[in-house]
């Protein structure tokens, strides 16, 4: 008998991110040296490290904002420099990045998740607008659509940025310290929500955090790999039997 699991592993679990001997230094200070790691499809990777361990630098390199000085990075099997399908990657930046007085409604921010290279010189379609409504609904913030983003609480803002990242139905979701600066209760419900997404949907997670307890509770006590001051905690999800892509926003909405 053929093992069904192995077939599935080979058939639909592709390499999402591959770091190969990546080094980076800032001026003369070495931030990381020779980091190698693979993120497979449907993995939930928790990236843990103290301040200055290079967590954010690593994320910035993966999303193409910094280049490694040595080593290589590939995304979805392609060298990062040639990677073009940026809409497959959803990115939730650190929340303290944005200016709280910025005049923008929640709806405008969520829609901006669609403003990538392939939408340049194009107007927004009706479908785009309905996708943004789906994204708002999936994160249960449809009532906040017309509010100014700066007027929301930290936890609500975090949902807005998550909705923006999800609007493209990404394969890889990158979250930079999503739990910082929000109260414990909101942290828990937010983490619960992304765990749920990982279990039920075809999406791979890379989350930077310094909250050991919450990460360990889901990803296990021991890191799968350690490199310098960085630890990679990994949990793979098998729960999803069906490898075909589904529209995340629609299914999230149906689950209510």
């Amino acid at each position: 008998m053929i093992n069904r699991d192995t077939i599935q592993q080979a058939g639909c679990h592709q390499e999402i991110v591959k770091l190969d001997g990546v080094s980076f230094s800032f001026d003369s200070q070495v931030i990381m040296s020779d980091v190698s790691f693979k993120i497979m499809e449907r993995d939930f990777v928790g990236l843990i490290g103290s301040n200055g361990a290079g967590k954010t630098t690593l994320l910035r390199m993966i999303v193409g904002l910094n280049r490694p000085q040595k080593g290589s990075i590939s995304l979805f099997g392609k060298p990062a420099a040639q990677f073009k399908d940026w809409n497959q990657i959803g990115y939730v930046p650190q929340r303290n990045h944005f200016n709280p007085l910025f005049p923008a409604t929640v709806r405008e921010v969520v829609l901006s998740g669609l403003y990538g290279r392939n939408k340049m010189f194009r107007r927004l379609s009706k479908e785009d607008v309905s996708r943004s409504e789906d994204a708002l609904g999936a994160l249960k913030i449809q009532d906040l659509g017309d509010k100014r983003i700066g007027a929301l609480s930290g936890g609500q803002q975090q949902r807005v940025f998550l909705a923006r990242a999800l609007i493209n139905n990404p394969k890889l979701l990158i979250l930079d310290e999503p739990l910082s600066g929000i109260d414990v209760e909101t942290q828990q419900s937010f983490f619960h929500m992304i765990k749920h997404m990982h279990q039920r949907h075809n999406i791979t997670f890379l989350m930077v955090s310094h909250d050991m307890d919450m990460v360990r509770s889901y990803l296990g006590q021991e890191p799968k790999e350690q490199s310098g001051k960085l630890s990679f905690y990994v949990r793979h999800s098998h729960d999803l039997e069906d490898c075909d892509g589904t529209d995340l926003l629609h299914s999230l909405r149906k689950e209510g």
């Binding site: 990115y91 910025f102 405008e108 901006s112 403003y115 392939n118 100014r148």
Partner: protein, 267 residues
């Protein structure tokens, strides 16, 4: 009121009305990206260009524009060198511009250059060429912003997210710098180099306090700009006041009123 029907005053109104659209619009992008002082800097450097234009007998506004564009690139370069101290690059280029302008002014003393008209504006001396230049700048700025409104929003709101979604952030930054330089060199004759930044930043400051959405902010800054410029020109014309100063003081008046009303409404 003969002045209101005079040809020079009509030209002033047309030029003012056009600049009142583009200057607040570019200013909104600058303020939101925390580059509010860039307008002031480019204006001062552009004055050096104007002075050079007088010296070598080339259309001064054009030389001013070239200087402003060069300065905006220099600011970008310095901004990268002093990453966390972006305002440092602005201060350096601004003082450099003033220094160069003062040198060129003294060199050009024998040509009887009208310095004050560029420092404080001389909207009544706009000629036909100036109007065409301003109209051209307005068309360029409005079409570019209209074509790229989505991308400019994302770039302004979250430059990193823009880069992650694959937008050519570098080109957009250069584009914004050039558009700003265009608007500033075209506005100098209207409000003067010393006051240009008011026309860029004060409408944006009002927009920030009153608008909930980006769309609202865009509409509001343009409306405020138009109201202040047209009313300012009219008041200045009737009572024979300095037009540039009147416009700026009106803007500050609107700002004070908008801040106090939002305070009262919230309380």
């Amino acid at each position: 009121m003969d002045i209101l029907t005079a040809e020079f005053f009509q030209r002033a109104l047309i030029g003012g009305a056009l600049i009142a659209v583009t200057a607040p619009l570019m200013g909104l992008f600058l303020v939101l990206r925390r580059l509010a002082m860039i307008g002031d800097t480019l204006a001062h450097v552009s004055i050096a260009g104007v002075a050079l234009g007088f010296l070598i007998h080339i259309y001064p506004v054009a030389v001013g524009l070239v200087f402003a564009i060069l300065a905006s690139f220099a600011i970008e370069v310095l901004r990268r060198a002093y990453r966390t101290y972006a305002e440092l690059s602005i201060a350096i280029i601004m003082s450099g511009g003033i220094a160069l302008a003062s040198l060129l002014f003294t060199m050009g003393k024998s040509f009887k250059m009208n310095v004050t008209s560029y420092l404080f504006g001389s909207i009544y001396t706009l000629n036909q060429t100036d109007i065409w230049v301003i109209a051209g700048v307005t068309i360029i700025v409005l079409t570019t912003v209209l074509i790229h409104k989505k991308e400019l929003f994302l770039l302004t709101f979250d430059e990193e997210a823009a880069a992650v979604s694959g937008l050519p952030v570098k080109y957009f930054n250069i584009m914004l710098s050039i558009l700003t330089a265009l608007v500033i060199s075209a506005s100098i004759k209207i409000v003067g180099a010393l006051l240009v930044s008011a026309l860029l930043t004060i409408p944006a400051a009002i927009g920030l306090t009153l608008s909930r959405s980006f769309k609202q902010a865009v509409i509001l800054v343009v409306l405020v700009g138009e109201a202040a410029v047209l009313a300012g020109l009219w008041i200045a014309g009737v009572w024979n006041l300095a037009p540039g100063g009147t416009i700026v003081l009106l803007l500050i008046g609107i700002l004070i009123v908008s801040i106090t009303t939002t305070r009262i409404m919230r309380a």
